[in-house]
């Protein structure tokens, strides 16, 4: 598939998990892709990733909670590429525990990464994406990664639920705002169900350390497979395919929409 030839994309949290799979997919579709993540550019993981992905990939160090980092990234992308067609707001963290014992710091940290990061990215890249969007049939495309946890509640996940619900409606608000003002940027959210990613594995490993849980990470992952109607959790590449669709001109009338990709979990 080469629907994105000549396009430039930036993916936050692009070094691993859904972000990493998205980088791979957008490159396959012909885009030039900027990976944004926390590690310094000199880090060996970053260097190895760029080596593997080749010339169409590049890297910018970006903490999505830092306004200065976003400003600087927007300047760098304008200077080095002169356009941005696709912004994938993927960087995210979880935050689990009972609300009554949840440290306020945890709440603020989850909000900062999962929703402030989307606000700052949209704010600082909107001017460049407005210019870029006028050059293509389908316009520029912002894709915010929410979650099925942005649609339905989950026990002991209040900050994550709240931040992902915020991502869902921030998406609709900005989609409406841009459309109403004739700004050629489409904005949509993607809502993965349980996906085999490092974030999920780490969450399960952490939960398994609690003796009262009485289950191994392996057991818990098997439970998630069984709880998904189609009988298995998803792969990161299956989310990346939805993101590539939204990024492409195939989705030219799609804005303010939510793509639930969850193996039927929330249809139950």
């Amino acid at each position: 598939m080469k629907r994105l030839q000549g396009r430039v994309a930036l993916v936050t949290g692009g070094l691993r998990g859904i972000g990493g799979a998205t980088v791979d997919r957008l490159l396959d579709e012909g885009a030039v892709v900027i990976i944004a993540d926390l590690k310094p550019a000199s880090d060996e993981v970053v260097q190895a990733t760029l080596q593997r992905l080749g010339q169409a990939s590049s890297y910018v160090q970006l903490n999505v909670t830092s306004e200065a980092d976003w400003q600087s990234a927007a300047e760098t992308v304008r200077r080095d590429f002169g356009r941005l067609d696709i912004l994938v707001g993927n960087a995210g963290i979880d935050g689990v525990g009972s609300v009554d014992t949840m440290p306020y710091e945890t709440w603020k940290r989850v909000m900062a990464v999962n929703i402030d990061g989307l606000f700052l990215g949209t704010k600082y890249f909107a001017p460049l994406m407005t210019e870029t969007g006028a050059k293509t049939r389908g316009g520029a495309s912002i894709i915010n990664i929410s979650s099925i946890m942005g649609m339905v509640g989950w026990v002991d996940a209040s900050p994550y639920n709240a931040s992902k619900g915020a991502a869902r409606l921030f998406t609709k608000a900005t989609a409406l705002e841009f459309a109403r003002k004739g700004i050629p940027i489409r904005v949509n959210s993607v809502h993965p169900g349980f996906i085999r990613t490092p974030l999920l594995q780490e969450g399960m490993d952490r939960a398994a350390e609690d003796p009262s849980v009485g289950a191994t990470a392996q057991d818990m992952l098997a439970t998630l497979d069984q709880g998904t109607p189609i009988g298995r959790i998803g792969e990161a590449s299956e989310i990346a395919a939805g993101i590539a669709f939204l990024a492409s001109d195939d989705a030219s009338f799609m804005t303010g929409s939510e793509l639930v990709i969850d193996g039927g979990w929330t249809a139950q």
Partner: protein
Amino acid sequence: MSKRLEGKVALITGGTSGIGAATVRRLVDEGAKVAFTGSNAEAAAKLCAETGASFHAVRVQDADAWPKLMEELHTLYGRLDIAFANAGTEAGDGSIENISIEGWNNIVAVNQTGVMLTVQHAMRAMKANPGGSGGAIIVNSSMNALRAMGNFMAYSVTKSAVIALTKSAALHCALTGTKIRVNAILPGVVETAMITNLIEHSADPVATRAAYESLSPMKRMAKVNEITGLVAFLSSDEAAFISGSEYVIDGASTAGMQGV
């Protein structure tokens, strides 16, 4: 065009015009073999000549016609991988106050019973596929499932009903291990013959067109080709983890409150 659907066989109901005809073209472009239903034989013949698809003059609400249609498809293609339950109507619709029982029955028959029969027969055929059960079913609902119209009551009601049908069928297919996925799409106003006809026959066509265009904050209707990419995506193996979903494709028409 990429060939994500090479080797697949698709059935599209209501394929002679509008979103249906555009989807016939798109799925053929992506490599699928396509059969479609409808009632306009002249339009069907042209589309067959253009795309190599096959036409089957079946009314989707006619339960007795379905077994014969499925036999024909089996003879022609030997399998079924994709079904797009697209046929729909608003003929005879009105408000709750003035709709006739004939109008109501017609719309329920086409939009609701027709979709049920399409999904039912498609899934039965997909279960029996050579090489094992599997397939993708896409139901064409409407954004009016989410925002009912006062003057198109039956259309709004039936388009909403088929979302529950989609989810129920998706769950059944998933929980019985069939590898058949079922999803709904909810388009906004698409510039089809059905809509242009409504515009032309309204009291003030200019104002009616402007009213339809203003339903999306993008201030335009969708072109049929802007819907087909989503159908193709959901039809393909790329959407293997998507089932029971309802995808709105409406230029943000329902992302916020109407009229503000």
